[in-house]
């Protein structure tokens, strides 16, 4: 008998000795699983549980709840719940995110990426505010309040022009964002094909290099207060 088979037999015997296997009622214990069988782990998710967690919203509007709000109502909520960080007009306080403006700046040397100038979908606003804002007290707004602040943010960006426009699950899904067409699928495999190179240069590959910039002259390491923004 092989060693492992005898070990298995010893293990089975000790299970039996512990009363874990009662030879009459149970088939003999095996150290194996039935191939292809389900694990039999986990339990069915209840509808109430799915409802509690499944709050995500897709660009086609699937997932948007009932409820409504207008820019006018949203203005008041925004000033109370959001403006300490994002500013009265979404201009951003300190390094907190700017939420409005920047339209047409994406080609500029210093682009201003905001909800209005950059975001492709208005539905993302609802999904994101519902899960993450206000920062430090997330998931504390009602759906009506979320529709309202989203409407206010869209109105600050001139996407919604009428302060009494009713944002709800039907109107939000139909909103076209200014930069909706501004995105394309990863094309590195084609536009950067030349980075795949069978015989990279090994000697005399370039002219003599000159230092043209030094981190120590920028002086932002690590506790400096000035520097470029990163996300």
């Amino acid at each position: 008998m092989s060693r492992s088979a005898s070990a298995l037999r010893a293990l089975t015997a000790s299970f039996a000795a512990l009363g874990l296997l009662t030879s009459v009622a149970l088939a003999q214990q095996q150290l194996a699983i039935k191939p292809g069988a389900k694990l039999g782990l986990g339990r069915a998710a209840l509808p109430e549980e799915i409802k509690a967690w499944d709050t995500d919203v897709r660009p086609d509007g699937v997932g948007l709840p009932d409820g409504k709000g207008t820019p006018k109502l949203g203005d008041a909520i925004f000033q109370e719940r959001c403006s300490t960080c994002h500013g009265e007009f979404g201009e951003g306080v300190g390094r907190y995110p700017v939420l409005a403006g920047g339209l047409g700046s994406l080609k500029a040397d210093r682009p201003d990426k905001t909800v209005g100038s950059y975001w492709p979908d208005a539905t993302t606003l609802f999904d994101y505010i519902k899960r993450a804002m206000p920062y430090g007290n997330a998931r504390s707004l009602t759906d009506d309040e979320i529709y309202a602040v989203a409407a206010y943010i869209l109105s600050m960006n001139d996407v919604i022009k009428d302060e009494n426009f009713e944002l709800n699950k039907n109107t939000l899904a139909k909103i076209k964002m200014p930069n909706a067409a501004g995105f394309y699928e990863d094309d590195r495999d084609t536009t950067e094909k030349h980075f795949w190179n069978k015989s990279p240069c090994m000697s005399n590959c370039r002219d003599e290099p000159k230092v043209i910039g030094r981190a120590i002259s920028v002086d932002v390491t690590p506790e400096g207060k000035n520097g470029p923004a990163v996300d």
Binding site: R43, G94, F195, V211
Partner: protein, 426 residues
């Protein structure tokens, strides 16, 4: 070492000859007089120290062992001005203090969007819903009864080196390259969990969601999910650290760190991407024409010399070890080249330790330094033939405003006194 004034790099002479020192066995003739200078006996040897004499701590003084008190400086560090608040911020792995390929758990960089969620595993649930035959809820105990695997993978934030697009900014590889770590994960292939719920035939994307106060959510293509994604509960042999997603996180090999959802609580199956804030407003790459690439998931091949680097200057002429990391989201590292003349001439480094798929790989060049200035660079080549590009090559296509995916070749200027700094070269 002599503290001579830094030479003007623009007027170096005879520098190129030093490139030969990368070629195997071509050590430069260096005076070896220095080593014999010590005439006084060394008190480290001649004196009796307390630790030679007195009893040290007993076994239970440190039930969870910590590094020596002489390693206190080896910590993650942040850059205050980068972000508005510490709860939505980042700190950096001290790459220049590491060796081998594994990042110790306590040194793995952190990036949170609403702080670290502190979750009792008894209260943690993972839900799978959406386009599945049977929506399911799992406890941590359920997950630990599933077949598990062990895999070593790097995790790199897509914004690693993002501060450096316009030129040299931060003086230290910890800050320029420290949003990467390399860990052995223990977890369950996501496919095992999805099979249990039963995917409907029209599923094309999944959405992964965290339990933290950001509820961070990302869309993941189903092909990747079924290929090599893990749902991990352990790192480097022990439970995940809270800041790395305890008790459960996603592991998305080779793909940008933001997708590796921490504190993972839900996976929804669907037929289109969700266009979440993290995959539209963020983690899209703005190109010079004002349009942006999306779904740039894979991390391009990249490398960095960690020693010498600004935080780890050269201290000795003569024998030295140049060292660094290379990695690729597309596969394994095939070769790493090193230059000491700013990319004019290259030699091939020695890879050592495990060379694994989508893992940090360690490289070394053993060399004798004659005290000349060097412009040190490294260039990674992966098994798909991708060669890490120079920063100018990268900027030619991607401009300077894409924030993410800066895998350009880094230059360190080593001065004659050994001081090393982050420079941008022509």
């Amino acid at each position: 070492m002599s503290k001579q004034a830094p030479k003007d790099v623009l007027n170096r002479r005879g520098f190129l000859g030093a490139a030969g020192l990368l070629a195997a066995g071509a050590a430069l003739p260096i005076g070896k007089a220095k080593a014999e200078a010590a005439a006084q006996p060394d008190p480290a040897i001649t004196e009796v120290h307390d630790f030679n004499k007195l009893l040290g701590d007993g076994v239970d003084r440190r039930p969870y062992g910590m590094p020596s008190k002489y390693e206190k400086h080896v910590v993650r560090r942040d850059v205050g001005w980068l972000t508005a608040s510490a709860e939505s911020s980042v700190n950096f792995t001290p790459l220049h203090e590491l060796d081998g390929i594994i990042t110790p758990s306590g040194l793995c960089f952190e990036r949170h969007h609403s702080g670290v969620a502190e979750i009792n595993p008894a209260d943690h649930r993972l839900m799978i819903n959406g386009l599945v035959e049977k929506p399911l809820v799992f406890t941590m105990e359920d997950i630990k009864r599933m077949p598990r695997v062990n895999r070593i993978y790097f995790l790199e934030c897509a914004a690693n080196s993002g501060m450096e697009w316009r030129g040299a900014q931060l003086n230290g590889c910890q800050f320029t390259h420290g949003m990467v770590h390399n860990v052995m994960y223990t977890g369950v292939p996501l496919k095992v969990l999805l099979d249990e719920a039963g995917l409907k035939p029209n599923v094309k994307w999944l959405m992964l969601e965290g339990a933290d106060a950001a509820g961070l959510n990302r869309s993941l293509p189903i092909d990747k999910a079924l290929n090599d994604v893990l749902i991990a509960f352990a790192m480097n042999g022990e439970a995940l650290r809270p800041e790395q997603g305890y008790p459960l996180r996603a592991v998305i090999p080779g793909w940008q760190g933001n997708m590796w959802v921490k504190w993972l609580r839900r996976i929804e199956a669907g037929d289109m991407p969700w266009q979440t804030r993290e995959e539209t407003s963020k983690y899209t790459d703005l190109m010079p024409d004002g349009r942006a690439r999306k779904h740039t998931f894979v991390m391009d091949a990249k490398s960095v010399v960690t020693n010498p680097s600004p935080q780890a200057p050269l201290k000795h002429k003569g024998r030295n070890v140049l060292s660094g990391f290379a990695w690729s989201g597309r596969g394994t590292i095939k070769r790493v080249d090193v230059s000491i003349d700013g990319g004019r001439n290259w030699g091939t480094a020695r890879l050592d330790g495990p060379i694994l798929d989508k893992s940090l790989t360690r490289f070394y060049v053993d060399f004798d330094w004659n005290g000349q200035e060097m412009m040190i660079q490294s260039r990674a080549i992966d098994d798909t033939g991708y060669v890490q590009p120079s920063k100018p090559e990268l900027r030619k296509i991607r401009g300077v405003n894409s924030i993410y995916h800066n895998n350009g070749i880094q230059t360190w200027l080593v001065r004659a006194n050994g001081e090393t700094e982050n420079v941008e070269i022509s």
